[in-house]
């Protein structure tokens, strides 16, 4: 299914827009898929937010969910 992914910070330099992925229905499998498609992700300790909440355990990705890839914050 196509997943709408928004990437931020340094990840936004190589990922943007909607990504079509097969057999991905949870965040763990999304991670595995992304690192294959974008090997640069390997070196980035990023968090995933589903509908604006950072998830800490593997989470099902519902249709129309908003997925965000968040490298470490560096505000202030």
């Amino acid at each position: 299914m196509p997943i709408n992914i928004t990437a931020f910070g340094q990840i936004s330099e190589f990922i943007s827009g909607t990504i079509s992925v097969d057999k991905v229905n949870d965040t763990d499998s999304l991670r595995k898929h992304l690192v294959v498609q974008f090997p640069s992700l390997k070196d980035i300790n990023y968090a995933i937010a589903v509908d604006k909440k950072i998830i800490s355990v593997n989470t099902l990705i519902e249709e129309n969910a908003t997925i965000a890839l968040l490298p470490p914050f560096s505000g202030g």
Binding site: T6, F8, G9, Q10, S12, A49, K52, A68, L70, P71, P72, F73, S74, G75, G76
Partner: protein, 147 residues
């Protein structure tokens, strides 16, 4: 799903000293306040591998950031008896020497204002989805890392 409208904290570009002065001035009518604590983050011209940072370009995940800030505010107000708290963070380019973060707490007594301000600064650095891209003189860049 109705979405609550959260208070805006983002300002495009640097936070000016006159903006800070106006914020302070507005509190002169609140005569129950005895103490203000203010934290200002200023963009530092660090040298990294012999290249000087000339500015930081800030970006955010705005919907998430405003929701998170609402949650952080509620936590701080529940913990400290504050009269008020104001927070502003820059987006876009802020040159070295300019202000990019303004945290302003006010209370009847100093202890609460000071402790709440310090805690809020730590929370912003750790939990607010904001990213700083350090821009060098030669137009190269590097993503900032918070300590």
């Amino acid at each position: 799903m109705t979405e609550k409208k959260h208070k805006q904290i983002f300002i495009h570009g640097a936070i000016s000293s006159s903006f800070i002065a106006e914020s302070i001035q507005k509190h002169s009518s609140k005569t129950n306040i005895g103490a203000h604590s203010i934290f200002l983050g200023q963009v530092r011209s660090d040298s990294i591998n012999d290249k000087k940072v000339i500015a930081i370009d800030y970006s955010t995940y705005e919907e998430m950031a405003l929701e998170k800030m609402h949650e952080l505010r509620e936590g701080i107000f529940a913990k400290y008896p504050l009269t008020c708290m104001h927070i502003y963070h820059s987006l876009g380019t802020v040159a070295a020497g300019e202000i990019c973060l303004f945290v302003f707490t006010s209370a009847i007594h100093r202890k609460e204002a000071i402790d709440a301000c310090e805690e809020m600064v730590e929370l912003i650095k750790k939990e607010l989805p904001v990213w700083g891209k350090e821009l060098f003189e030669d137009e190269s860049h590097q993503w900032k890392v918070n300590k």
